[in-house]
Symmetry: C2
Subunit: 192 residues, 2 copies
């Protein structure tokens, strides 16, 4: 997210301050988790004065909400591999990489969502946006005549991606990339 946040807002001091602050939030969150995230640490890492942070973001939760908002308005879209199965495998590999990164921002944000309502709401909005964009893989498959129109894109994406979240976040067990691929294949086969 960091590079995307930086690249997207080339101009303006306000935009630069935001991108520096959010990059610092991301780094602190990854290193120390939500419990270790403090306004002072973000100030020290970003070089932005703490009074600016308090004025603009108010709380640690406010910083996290803005980090997720910045992620949602980036230009991400799912890879176009030419087949539904290939597209779903690519999606699952991205989810797998995000959840198994050490440290994982995604895991830290999920944990934070169980601490504050604001973080939970921001994460819900972020995922709604991501799942809506990912529905493009279904639209492309319908346009190619690969699957019938009327397939429920959200249900299909749940079949593909939910096993990764359940295993790696809630069950707290490892999952290999080939197992992640398997769940993408099961999803693709379910609508053929």
């Amino acid at each position: 997210m960091t590079d995307a946040v930086r690249a997207r807002r080339p101009g303006g001091r306000t935009a630069r301050v935001r991108s520096d602050v959010l990059a610092a939030v991301e780094a602190e969150l990854a290193e120390h988790g939500y419990d270790g995230l403090t306004i002072d640490a973000v100030a020290a890492r970003s070089g932005v004065h703490r009074t600016t942070l308090y004025r603009r973001w108010k709380t640690v939760a406010g910083l996290l909400v803005d980090l997720l908002a910045a992620g949602a308005d980036d230009s991400w879209e799912p890879a176009d591999t030419g087949s539904l199965e290939g597209d779903l495998i690519a999606v699952n590999r991205e989810v797998h990489a995000a959840l198994t990164a050490r440290p994982s921002i995604t895991q830290a944000v999920i944990a934070a969502s169980f601490r504050t309502t604001e973080a939970a709401e921001a994460l819900t909005r972020f995922w709604e946006d991501r799942y809506a964009r990912t529905a493009l893989v279904v639209e492309r498959a319908v346009a190619r005549g690969e699957i019938p129109a009327g397939v429920d894109a959200h249900q299909l994406l749940l079949t593909a991606t939910a096993p990764l979240y359940h295993q790696l976040v809630l069950l707290r067990k490892p999952m290999s990339r080939s197992e992640a691929d398997h769940h993408a294949r099961v999803a693709a086969a379910s609508v053929r």
Copy 2:
């Protein structure tokens, strides 16, 4: 879980104290969540003296760990409906009921697992036990000749159940019982 805990340990004062305390933990957790769970409230509700609670369970996390341990050693096993699809639908309806109960003990325990390592470890053990028992639906299907031997039971159960956890716990969106049934059907079809 409460009734099972009670029924299983008919004799002994120590066993009775434990079942009264765990019933109180469950009720407090459901009403107030992990943040609202206190030794004093459990003492008041169970009628067991707080010094006993501190001596035997030490902390609120200790109480939660014991609640999950009690759930794991009960006699639960998956319903036998005569078909893999029927069995998976029955499993998904149980998961759906547990996650959509108001209040939901399961949702409260999952939230607690992001607060303390002890709760996370206890929940991991509880689920390992439950998924291992649920593998019986796959063994029965193989024995009936409905599916080939060698099907990965855990992957199959992830395909069935993970969408419910992802949608209802992490995405924090509703899911109907018929959608839960759909994911059981997708899982059953994936191994035929």
